[in-house]
Subunit: 419 residues, 2 copies
Amino acid sequence: MSTAWTSRYAQRTKNVRSSAIRELLKITQNPAIISFAGGLPAPDVFPVERFRHACTKVLEKDARIALQYGATEGYEPLREMIARHTSRYGIKAQPENVLITSGSQQALDLIGKLLINSGDRVLVEAPTYLGALQAFNVYGAEYVCVPSDNDGLRTDLLEEPLRSGPKFMYVLPNFQNPGGTTLAEGRRHQLVLLAERYGIPIIEDDPYGQLRYEGEHLPPLVVLDRENLRRDRGYSIGNVIYLSTFSKTLAPGLRLGWMVAPPDVITKLVQLKQGADLHTSTFGQMVAYEVARDGFLDEHIKLIRRVYGERRDVMLQALEENFPHEVTWTHPFGGLFLWVTLPAGMDSHRLFDAALKENVAFVPGDQFYSGNGFAEEGLRHLRLNFSNAQPDQIREGIRRLSIAIKSQLASLHPEPAAR
Amino acid sequence: MSTAWTSRYAQRTKNVRSSAIRELLKITQNPAIISFAGGLPAPDVFPVERFRHACTKVLEKDARIALQYGATEGYEPLREMIARHTSRYGIKAQPENVLITSGSQQALDLIGKLLINSGDRVLVEAPTYLGALQAFNVYGAEYVCVPSDNDGLRTDLLEEPLRSGPKFMYVLPNFQNPGGTTLAEGRRHQLVLLAERYGIPIIEDDPYGQLRYEGEHLPPLVVLDRENLRRDRGYSIGNVIYLSTFSKTLAPGLRLGWMVAPPDVITKLVQLKQGADLHTSTFGQMVAYEVARDGFLDEHIKLIRRVYGERRDVMLQALEENFPHEVTWTHPFGGLFLWVTLPAGMDSHRLFDAALKENVAFVPGDQFYSGNGFAEEGLRHLRLNFSNAQPDQIREGIRRLSIAIKSQLASLHPEPAAR
């Protein structure tokens, strides 16, 4: 009987449920539906030819390594490449600071495993990345939520939450998922100083940092943290663990991410990763290395920036032209998402049902809050993805969505004659 | 400072250390050393040409799917293929019973996450697979150890341990790692009956089941369990979760394993896998499917059986010819390993040092015990792998090892003149 199993589930699984987004993505696979729901990269920019050459080369030259067990830390040339690439952003990483993970989702799981005792509090932005909540929930995390605005996390509201003693802060400074907001430079400095003052480390999640479509690159927290520590008391290895991924720049289907951390933290994470999956696919890592090398990744990212930047512009313009003035949205400088705010009284779940009838989909905002007191706030938001659909589909999808919004608005304020 | 992190590590990491085997494998990468230490498949049987064709085909036909995010459950045609293949062994699985994992190591991690509360007891064979202990340790498992002999787990000693209320049993019935033993058919029936009587489920780990070099295939526990349940009280979904992998039949570098379980257990595992790594590499799964399909995997397994069977025979003969009569070993019917027992008083760690001087390596046996009272027992054993080295190397390696053993034996029983 299945109850033989269910009665034996561990305590930690009690809060675990399937991501509503992944369930929702199944609905939206209907090709008649224009979906702004997923966080999918555009398949039209996958560098397929380059992948084909890379596979051939790896299998011709190094099949006995590529198909064999490998080191838990990751494929050494890939770790070196990542260390070199991130150094350009001022993150002075050596290969021994880099751990290759099975997507950055695994990095979040390993961090939960490493740091969270059941009942520990984690400071997160409200809203924040749903997958991080899923990863941390399993380890019994509780949350301290700090609101954000158009300049990202409200660092002016941080001190009281920090005094409550969270285990760490989890922050997405660039083109946040789901908010589409970017943490302003002044706030970055403030955040790093507060982390140091209160002794609360930071997990900096940066999957989209290279996909900027306007404005100047801002320094990552991990860089500011080290500069700060160097100035105050000599070089130190810092309060920040930095995460990134190839999912948004090469291909998510490879499941390749990485963490940059002090060497002794990497050592501990390697031990945990051994127990979790021994190592990430050797073949996948070697293929990614062959695809990315010799400057290809940089050139490819330029292409992605052009394509996604145009799609963002198309969506922003379509919103401007179609949405009623009561509705507002963020203006993302990069990334894959923007965040819509509905007028008070509207309900993004009811809107979702109305939108599906118009054959358009999005993610209702309540998915991105960890619970505590944000239920109503969540219902006033929706997340729109602009990377996956073609420009024409974006225009048409926003037109359809505006029809659904207007009908919901009308039912909020029925005309007197309708009484 | 790194202490900002170390002081924040979760309780569960206190028992986590790097696998001594993985550390040891670094030592043995010296090409002068003949290593029987790892559990590596022979790279000379990797089907490289077939992989090259598979990559080309997947990228030509389905790149937009292969490089994109995929379903957490796994690539549907691969799940169907696994369900079909395992059905031949009597495991009547449907695709919805199959979850693709990032190697079967991830299956062990997900099982720990799903079932183990800190302090729960897990019943294991003594000795058992080190990676399972690593995976379960993180979740705070304690162990109940039951000895095995040449016919596998001593089911005659099971009742008392079962009465102590373990959460589940973890068993490798075929060509066990490290013992090389196979659970006899009568004991399989007994194990399944006892599991039912005491209501203790079984995790059946079967990475090597298809690599049999002599004798007849024995029914898996999952099959006996279902037959048993059907007879007694109608069809039920059973007490057994079954694990296997492509690591020993196609290539470990892909990190592809699977679990077969009742659908509601799969549902829960899928939720946990979402938080752990979203899904296993789509590209890797599609390539494995293309490699394995149309009967190729079956043919390829025949080749592996021939090659490994010969290597096993070579090792057995070399042991017979070289080892002193005080030393005994198991006669594995399949798999990758055999298990050597040293005479009382010898110490496999001291032998390891002596063997390294002769440029030959193995894994000392104490690695494979979970602790409780088996420390001395562990020191009397060593695990030898016969899949990775060529026959000539196996002969030479066993010759070298016998020199080390004889010198250790001599120092145990010094000649009177040496007093």
